[in-house]
């Protein structure tokens, strides 16, 4: 197997696995935020702000996987 084949197999798989992890984490975070907003609707704005920021931080790890994909993508040919 040449390295191009190996890369073409590995890169999308890597991003996909990272996406699974991030989807799980985001689901938990947003679910907890929804629950908190349901309990205390008057704090909804603060909770929403915290949720957006938490989601961006969780997403960052998937983005690292994506950036690695960009770095290697030029070598796939």
């Amino acid at each position: 197997m040449e390295f191009q084949t190996a890369l073409s197999l590995a890169l999308p798989l890597g991003v996909g696995i990272a996406a699974v992890g991030s989807a799980l984490g985001l689901g938990k975070a947003v679910g907890a935020a929804m629950e908190a907003m349901g309990r205390q609707p008057e704090a909804a704005a603060k909770i929403q702000l915290g949720m957006i920021i938490g989601c961006a931080l969780i997403e960052a790890l998937t983005i690292y996987a994506l950036v690695t994909m960009f770095v290697f993508q030029a070598r796939v040919g």
Partner: protein, 466 residues
């Protein structure tokens, strides 16, 4: 223009000289850069001593002659002695010393010019206009040189255009091709005249709807500069512009923001007009947000963090304007912003906590023997954590913005390909929903960058619980 003008000139030279020296050290030689710094320091010391001398001689209650004569006896031998040593030192080229010496003079000229030109709008605009004039002169000097700065870039792109001749499967795209051929660009540029014609033919095909990136390999939508390069491929000026396109777009963003803000604050009224009202809403909400995190002492960081937010937001959104490109889609830009934040945070930590407090903060605040024993673990851990912060900031912003750019490109390609059988220069606008997504992520990423920077500032301030 009083004695504080000299102080302003010295402060401006004090930050322009290291930046210029850094640039010179990276592109020319370190000795030249060191000479520039030494020359500027000498000239600033000279200016400062002259200012003190004049102040002592011309005081309202009669000059203090003795002080002035003492100062003169110190200044002349010491300063000129040091200057003589600097001139004799072999490591510092004389041209660099002279350049450093003339730098504060150039700053004086530009500031005065700026204050003169901008005297109707007030002295605060003086330095901005001065720097603008400097950039204009710099740009005019660099631009129309056929054999000058653009020449190496033209050779590179000529080699990249010849690449399709060699590799059948990839028509002129990708960093891999230009990386491989960049090494023997000279030989190929000289050797292949008939290869040049083939390159032209292939170049026509690849100059389609999409501009191929020369490094990194992923495609981008065409912006004004790549269109210029496509129209005038032989001009070295357009290649120069293409090489600096991220810088030019970020500069455009800065100029645009500066114009808006200066128009809004020109004649500020107590009952504001529409533009001033909008800017005040923005500034006030940023102020509330940042002071909500940092407390009332965070007011001094609001200019930096607020400008960071507005700047990043505008840079992200400018990628969605047809004909422009978001500079934050380049790792260099985001890394620069993250490094600025990192350095400012460390400086704030050192200033707020003191050097000892800063080091103890890095070592985990050792109090009792157990925590003292843990210091060899905590110190590297904290240092790596601090270094990871600018890395994560820059990669997060870069990855998000590049990701949304690539997403839009793919849908544009799809939209063009769907009705490609018609052979018309049209496309279905399939990318419109993703532009809305891009607006959302641009705003969120700017907010997250700013909020994380704010939190890093918060962690460097003295807090009780640890």
């Amino acid at each position: 223009m009083g004695p504080e003008f000299v102080g302003r000139v010295i402060r401006t030279s004090a930050w322009v000289a290291p930046l210029g020296a850094l640039y010179v050290a990276a592109y020319y030689s370190v000795g030249f850069a060191a000479a520039i710094v030494v020359g500027t320091a000498w000239a600033c010391a000279n200016l400062y001593l002259i200012k003190i001398l004049v102040e002592k001689l011309i005081r309202p209650g009669g000059g203090r002659r003795k002080d002035a004569i003492l100062l003169g006896c110190v200044k002349f031998p010491l300063l000129y002695g040091l200057g003589y040593l600097a001139l004799r030192a072999e490591a510092l080229p004389v041209l660099g010393l002279l350049a450093g010496f003339w730098l504060p003079k150039a700053v004086i000229v530009l500031k005065s010019l700026g204050m003169f030109v901008g005297r109707r709008s007030g002295a605060a605009h003086g330095s901005v206009l001065g720097i603008g004039l400097l950039l204009l002169v710099f740009g005019l000097w660099l631009a129309p040189q056929p054999g000058g700065l653009g020449a190496d870039v033209v050779a590179e792109s000529a080699a990249a255009a010849e690449a399709p001749v060699e590799d059948d499967s990839h028509a002129g795209a990708g960093g891999r091709a230009s990386e491989q051929h960049g090494g023997h660009a000279q030989a190929e540029a000289r050797a292949g005249h008939e290869a040049d014609e083939h390159g032209e033919a292939h170049g026509e095909e690849t100059h389609g709807e999409e501009g191929h990136g020369e490094e990194g390999g992923h495609v981008e939508l065409p912006n004004l500069i790549t269109v210029l390069v496509g129209l005038l491929p032989e001009s070295s000026f357009t290649h120069f512009l293409h090489k600096w396109e991220n810088f030019i777009f970020s500069l455009l963003c800065v100029v645009f923001l500066g114009l808006i803000v200066s128009a809004a604050t020109r004649h500020s009224k107590l009952v504001p007009g529409r533009l001033q009202n909008a800017i005040e809403i923005l500034v006030e909400s940023l102020d509330n947000f940042i002071c909500g995190v940092l407390g009332p002492q965070g007011r001094r960081y609001v200019p930096f963090l607020g400008s960071l937010f507005i700047y990043i937001l505008f840079m992200n959104l400018s990628g969605l304007v047809p004909g422009m490109k978001s500079p934050t889609a380049n790792l260099n830009q985001t890394l620069a912003l993250a490094v600025c934040v990192f350095l400012y945070v460390q400086y704030t930590g050192m200033r707020n906590l003191g050097i000892k407090g800063y080091i103890s903060h890095m070592a985990g605040d050792p109090r009792d023997p157990i925590t003292f024993a843990l210091v060899p673990i905590m110190l590297p851990l904290h240092i790596i954590g601090e270094l990871a912060k600018p890395l994560s900031l820059s990669l997060r912003l870069f990855g998000n913005i590049t990701g949304e750019d690539v997403l839009i490109v793919i849908f544009v390609t799809l939209g063009i390909g769907v009705i490609g059988f018609l052979n018309l220069p049209l496309g279905v606008p399939l990318q419109v929903p993703f532009i809305f997504l891009a607006i959302l992520t641009s705003t969120i990423q700017a907010l997250v960058f700013t909020l994380l920077s704010t939190v890093y500032f918060l962690m460097m301030m003295p807090h009780e619980e640890h």
